[in-house]
């Protein structure tokens, strides 16, 4: 379930954790694609990356919210 994230006695939305995780996963994917030189093989890289970020974000929410 979605829980509050407690930092120094303050409760934040769990998105404070989920969004950076999704961002890190997107960055890792981007780095890997560059290393393997597959980046050029993608059509509309920006579309791909933004969409991938959203997918990662949904996955993070699904996995970490303890469903």
């Amino acid at each position: 379930m979605m829980q509050a994230v407690v930092l120094g006695g303050m409760a934040f939305s769990p998105l404070v954790i989920y969004i950076p995780i999704a961002f890190l996963l997107s960055a890792l994917t981007r780095f890997t694609l560059h290393r393997l030189d597959w980046h050029d093989r993608l059509w509309k890289v920006a579309w791909f990356e933004v969409s991938l970020f959203v997918c990662y974000f949904a996955l993070t929410v699904y996995l970490l919210s303890g469903r």
Binding site: M1, Q3, A4, W47, F48, L52, F53, V54, A58, L59
Partner: protein
């Protein structure tokens, strides 16, 4: 062929992102959950039913007490004296009644011999009834005096834990003024303040998962009631009885929060609950 594969792959990811984004939005905005939950408990305030000095204080702050346990005693000298006075009054009234009964019975006999008038007999009958009423009144006053004496010993109305005890032996306390509170044992429940947009998704007996801000094991419970009213500030009036209407923004409205009470199922052994704690609540959806 390779070009089409590239396009298809990106489009597939975009479509997946649309569905994933929609799912996250629905999950965040349209499922009955709130981070605005509070732990609550039944709080019973303790007040003495008689005024006086506190002569003995038998409990400490935070102490667990059982129902009926003596909490503190109020000086009973005045109430004891009032009781003695009431007892004497009752005795006096009883004797007066007996005398009146005797007089009446004697006059009934005399009346049969036509030795006294009907009026005289009627007078003694009424006097006997007045004496009976006076006796009943004195008895009730004695019961009241006894009640006051009994109420000088204040006992716990419920089992629970003493909270915010600032009373000290020797303090003067007034009748009916609360001096501390008891948190009733096993009376903890959760109130979740849900946005009004989520209220249609909430119904009685709906299963709830509760996570405390303090961490620990997740608690479970079920919805027992959805609040049927919250205060409306626009209904208040000023000193001239004019309505105090709040200004609002034209574009943005904050949804109201409706309290939903959730009864806790069995509590895990090591869970420390205090009324006022913050909790996140997630209600099950069909």
């Amino acid at each position: 062929m390779k070009k089409y594969l590239r396009i298809t792959f990106t489009i597939a990811i975009v479509i997946a992102a649309v569905f994933a984004g929609r799912w996250v939005w629905t999950d965040y905005m349209h499922t009955p959950w709130t981070r605005d939950g509070r732990i609550r408990a039944d709080i019973v305030t303790v007040a003495a039913d008689v005024s006086g000095w506190v002569t003995a204080l038998n409990v400490k702050d935070g102490q667990a007490v059982k129902k009926g346990q003596l909490l503190f005693s109020v000086d009973n000298k005045r109430y004891q004296a009032a009781l003695e006075k009431a007892k004497a009054n009752t005795e006096s009234a009883l004797l007066t009644w007996e005398l009146a009964k005797h007089k009446y019975n004697r006059r009934v006999a005399l009346n049969t011999q036509k030795a006294i008038s009907e009026e005289d007999l009627e007078l003694t009958r009424i006097n006997r009834n007045i004496a009976k009423a006076s006796y009943d009144l004195a008895k009730t006053e004695q019961d009241l005096a006894q009640l006051n004496v009994d109420r000088t010993e204040v006992v716990a109305p419920v089992s629970g834990q003493i909270i915010n005890l600032n009373l000290r032996q020797g303090n003067y306390i007034a009748q009916g003024v609360s001096v501390f509170a008891i948190v009733k044992s096993d009376s903890f429940y959760v109130t979740g303040y849900f946005e009004e947009t989520k209220i249609p998704l909430i119904h009685e007996n709906q299963q709830a998962k509760i996570a405390l801000l303090s961490g620990g094991k997740q608690l479970t419970g079920h919805v027992v009631s959805v609040g049927k009213a919250i205060a409306n500030t626009n209904t208040q009036s000023n000193s001239q009885l004019l309505p105090q209407v709040q200004q609002t923004f034209n574009w943005v409205r904050l949804s109201q929060r409706i309290p939903v009470d959730i009864q806790l199922d069995e509590l895990p052994q090591d869970t420390q609950l205090s009324a006022g704690m913050t909790a996140t609540i997630h209600l099950a959806t069909q």
